[in-house]
């Protein structure tokens, strides 16, 4: 799993220039200081994780369950509760703050977020099917998937056949992105390349599981 992890919100994409004057496309993430609400351990919960929150939320707007949870652990309520799975939670305690400075420029990270929902999408958009020809008498079958099976044997469509359906709004992890800058002054994290999901979406950043090779 991960040695370290933080959570932030996607701000948008832009570009920066490096020292050797090359342009790098970056995604800007806002990582507000995280407050640990609960430390989950293998013994107590069956897995190791940190439950964290960030930002502020009016106490009056919390439901009873959330208010009780924050009150029980003595942590100021935040906008969201997010769990960060870790290999080991040794040295973490409730109320402790985690900032962007956990990560440094040059580190290789994995980024997890929920992708943009595309609704009900056809085979061409969803599975990169080729569609069918525009000419040669084709009529109203330009984006159709084509054949989905054989004949009276097997007489059925195999399970898992790729067809039209819901696309997007699923958890997507992008492996091995490079941290370009971790700005603890302005609580910003710059990651090279694109990150799934819309601006404002919640993004979990953790060190690369595959070692960044």
């Amino acid at each position: 799993m991960a040695q370290k992890a933080i959570v932030g919100e996607k701000v948008g994409m832009t570009q920066v220039w490096t020292q050797d004057r090359r342009v790098v496309p970056v995604t800007v993430l806002r990582v507000e200081p995280l407050r640990i609400v609960q430390v989950k351990t293998k013994e107590s919960d069956g897995y190791n994780a940190l439950q964290v929150t960030y930002g502020q939320k009016d106490e009056k707007k919390l439901n009873k369950a959330a208010a009780g949870h924050f009150a029980k652990h003595g942590v100021a309520p935040g906008r969201r509760l997010v769990e960060l799975r870790l290999d080991s939670v040794d040295g973490f305690e409730v109320g402790q703050e985690i900032g962007v400075d956990k990560l440094a420029a040059g580190e290789i990270v994995d980024v997890t977020a929920v992708s943009r929902g595309k609704g009900f999408a056809g085979g061409m958009k969803r599975h990169n099917f080729r569609g069918q020809g525009a000419a040669h008498g084709n009529h109203k079958h330009h984006r159709a998937p084509g054949s989905i099976g054989q004949r009276s044997f097997p007489g059925r469509v195999f399970r898992g056949m790729r067809m039209a359906g819901h696309l997007g709004h699923e958890q997507v992890t992008i492996l091995n992105l490079e941290v370009v800058q971790a700005d603890s002054e302005r609580n910003l994290l710059l990651v090279k390349g694109a990150v799934p999901g819309p601006n404002g979406g919640v993004v979990i950043v953790r060190d690369a599981v595959k070692g960044g090779k």
């Binding site: 701000v11 948008g12 994409m13 832009t14 570009q15 920066v16 220039w17 004057r21 342009v23 970056v26 800007v28 302005r186 910003l188 710059l190 601006n199």
Partner: protein, 115 residues
Amino acid sequence: MKATDIVDQQHLRTDLPKLRPGDEVKVHVRIKEGDKERVQVFQGDIIAIEGSGISESYTVRKNSYGVGVERTFPMHTPSVEKVEVLRHGQVRRAKLGYLRDRAGKAAKIREKREV
């Protein structure tokens, strides 16, 4: 103001003159050869300005020994040491692609008269 502007601000150059399509400019480009660095000048007319903010760019066209040469520079690249505006041109459109089909005197841009 966009949310990413706070990141862009430190990369934006403030030392550049205002560039417009039709301007004749000298672009001083830093060129790296091995471990040495020198400055090369690219002189020509701006035939297009595209984009905005940090990703804004301009295209300079010049005639080099009868061959048209175009180079597109990012507006805020640190590779450009400085940009000199030699003269402002009188042009009626933002993109001067029509210059590519012209040669000699027809490819000249009239100088803008200040009123």
